[in-house]
C-alpha cells in the first residue's frame, strides 16, 4: 500500500519544528509501524536526506521506548499496543498519517519524534528505597503475600513507563504512571514501610517536573499499551490522603532519595 506521512521534523530542542510530508510507497501489511518508518528512512538516506529520528529499543512491546502520536492518538489507538507492535494492516492504501512526538513541558523534544523522558526517572528516584532486611536468605514464605495483592502489584508493575498517559492527557498529567509505581510498591508488604514518604516524594517531584493535574477524563487508561487502570490513580490518591492524615513530611530521612 501507499501512504502519505506528515511527520514532525525538529532539528533540536531549541529549533522550531514543523510537519513535513513524505510518501511511503510499497508498504507491506505485515510491517510494524516502526519498520515502515525504517523503510522511509532508508529512502531518505539514499536520497541524501536526514532520516526521521524516533525512539525504539526492544520492538516487542516491553520496554516503553517507542513513543509517538499517530493521527492524534498516543501509540496509534490500537488498544493495549505500543507503536512497535502496531502493524500496517490496521491502515489502508491511500491513508494520510500524521506523526508527532509526545507533547508536554516535562518531555521536551530532543529531535523530531524523540523526547526527553528523564522526568520519569527523577520521579522513580524520588520514590526512594524499599527496606530489605540483611542476614541469611529468607525462607520462601516468611512474608506471605495474598493472591489478590500479588495480582494487583503485578498489574501495576506492568507499566513500561512509555509516557503515553502524559501524551494523551489533555493536561499532560503523569498521574497514571506515578500511581502505577506508587501502587505497585504500596500493594506489597516489602514496600509498605516507606509508603507515606514514597507517595509524598513522588508526587512532589511529579509536580516540580511540570506535569499537569488529573481531571479524571480517562484518556490515559484508554491509550496505555499495558492497560494500566485508573484504579491505581484512586489508590495513589488514597495513599496520599493517608500520608496527609498521618502528617508525614515529604522527606523524613536523609538518604533514599
Amino acid at each position: 500500500m501507499n501512504l502519505t506521512l506528515k511527520v514532525w521534523r525538529q532539528k533540536d530542542a531549541r529549533s522550531q519544528g514543523r510537519l513535513e510530508t513524505y510518501q511511503a510507497a510499497n508498504v507491506l501489511a505485515d510491517m510494524s509501524f516502526l519498520e515502515m518508518l525504517d523503510v522511509v528512512n532508508e529512502e531518505l538516506i539514499a536520497k541524501g536526506g536526514e532520516p526521521i529520528a524516533f525512539d525504539s529499543d526492544c520492538r516487542e512491546g516491553i520496554c516503553g521506548t517507542c513513543s509517538m502520536m499517530i493521527n492524534g492518538i498516543a501509540h496509534g489507538g490500537l488498544r493495549g499496543t505500543t507503536v512497535c507492535q502496531l502493524h500496517m494492516r490496521h491502515f489502508h492504501d491511500g491513508d494520510t498519517i500524521v506523526i508527532e512526538p509526545w507533547r508536554a513541558r516535562a518531555f521536551p523534544v530532543i529531535k523530531d519524534l524523540v523526547t526527553d523522558r528523564g522526568a520519569f526517572d527523577r520521579i522513580i528516584q524520588a520514590g526512594g528505597f524499599v527496606s530489605v532486611n540483611t542476614g541469611g536468605t529468607p525462607d520462601a514464605n516468611a512474608l506471605p503475600v495474598g493472591k489478590t495483592e500479588a495480582d494487583r502489584a503485578m498489574d501495576a508493575a506492568a507499566c513500561i513507563g512509555c509516557g503515553a498517559c502524559v501524551a494523551a492527557c489533555k493536561n499532560a498529567s503523569a498521574m497514571l504512571f506515578v500511581s502505577a509505581k506508587v501502587s505497585h510498591l504500596a500493594s506489597l508488604p516489602q514496600g509498605r514501610a516507606e509508603r507515606e514518604r514514597r507517595v509524598l516524594n513522588m508526587v512532589r517531584v511529579m509536580d516540580e517536573s511540570g506535569f499537569g493535574n488529573c481531571t479524571v477524563t480517562g484518556s490515559c487508561e484508554a491509550v496505555c499499551p499495558k492497560e494500566i487502570s485508573l484504579d491505581f490513580i484512586a489508590q495513589m490518591n488514597r495513599e496520599y490522603g493517608q500520608a496527609i492524615l498521618k502528617n508525614s513530611g515529604p522527606r523524613q530521612s536523609k538518604g533514599g532519595d
Binding site: 493521527n71 489533555k170 485508573l230 490518591n237 496520599y240 490522603g241
Partner: protein, 231 residues
C-alpha cells in the same frame, strides 16, 4: 512540623482533594436547595413558610451562607490554580489531536463551571438580593407579602419565571450545572481515592442519572410556570 497544609494546598493531589471536598459539599447544597424549591408545587403556604423559617433563623442563615461562600472560594481558587498548571504543562499544542475516551463533560469542566458561576451571581441578584432591575418584570420583589405578612416567595417565583428569557437563562444555567455534575459527582470519588473498578462504572452511571434528576427537578419549576401549571 505540620506538613498537612502544604501537602493539601500546594500539591496537585491535595488540590484535587480540595476540589472534590468542596464539590461534594456544594452537591449536597444543590440537592437540598432543589428539595426546598420543589415545595412550589405544594402551593404558597408551604414555600412561604419554609422561606420564612430560613430567613428568620439568622443564627443559622448567615453561618451557612458564609460557609458556602468559603467553600465556593476554595473551589474556584483550586480550579484556577489547577487550570493554570494544566495549561503550562503543554506549552505547544498538538497539530492533530483526538480526545480518546474523555467525555464531553470532562473536557469542558472549566467552561461549564465559569458559566454556572455567572448564572449563580445573576440568580442571587434576582431572587436573594432582589435587585429590581434584573428581574425584567418591573415588580419590586421586596414589596410582595402574603396575608400572614411573610415574604411572598411563591408570587415572586411565579412573576420571576413568567419572563421567558429569565426562565431560559435559568434552564441553560441549570443544564450546564448538571453537565458539570455529571462528571464531577463521580470524579470526586476518584480524587478522594474512593473509586475502583468494581464500583466505578456504577458511580459513573449514578452521577449521570443523578445529574438528570437534578436537572428535571430544577427546571420543572420554570417550565410549569411558563405552561401556567403554577400560577
Amino acid at each position: 512540623m505540620n506538613h498537612a497544609p502544604r501537602n493539601l494546598f500546594c500539591s496537585s493531589v491535595g488540590k484535587k482533594y480540595l476540589m472534590a471536598g468542596t464539590g461534594a459539599a456544594m452537591v449536597l447544597f444543590v440537592i437540598g436547595h432543589m428539595a426546598g424549591n420543589l415545595q412550589m408545587f405544594l402551593g404558597p403556604e408551604a414555600i412561604n413558610r419554609y422561606g420564612h423559617f430560613l430567613q428568620s433563623n439568622v443564627e443559622l442563615l448567615w453561618p451557612v451562607r458564609l460557609s458556602l461562600l468559603a467553600i465556593i472560594s476554595v473551589h474556584i481558587w483550586s480550579a484556577a490554580k489547577l487550570t493554570q498548571e494544566n495549561r503550562a504543562a503543554r506549552p505547544s499544542a498538538y497539530e492533530q489531536w483526538q480526545p480518546t475516551a474523555a467525555s464531553y463533560a470532562s473536557r469542558t469542566m472549566l467552561m461549564s463551571g465559569i458559566i454556572v458561576g455567572i448564572f449563580i451571581v445573576y440568580h442571587l441578584l434576582h431572587y436573594t438580593v432582589m435587585v429590581k432591575a434584573v428581574n425584567f418584570a418591573g415588580t419590586d420583589f421586596h414589596s410582595l407579602t402574603d396575608p400572614e405578612h411573610r415574604h411572598d416567595i411563591y408570587r415572586m417565583v411565579v412573576i420571576g419565571f413568567q419572563q421567558p428569557l429569565v426562565s431560559l437563562f435559568y434552564i441553560v444555567g441549570v443544564g450546564l450545572l448538571c453537565l458539570h455534575l455529571s462528571h464531577g459527582m463521580s470524579a470526586m470519588f476518584q480524587s478522594l481515592g474512593w473509586k475502583n473498578r468494581a464500583c466505578g462504572p456504577c458511580l459513573d452511571r449514578a452521577a449521570r442519572w443523578g445529574a438528570v434528576v437534578i436537572f428535571l427537578g430544577y427546571v420543572s419549576i420554570p417550565i410549569s410556570i411558563l405552561l401556567r401549571l403554577i400560577q
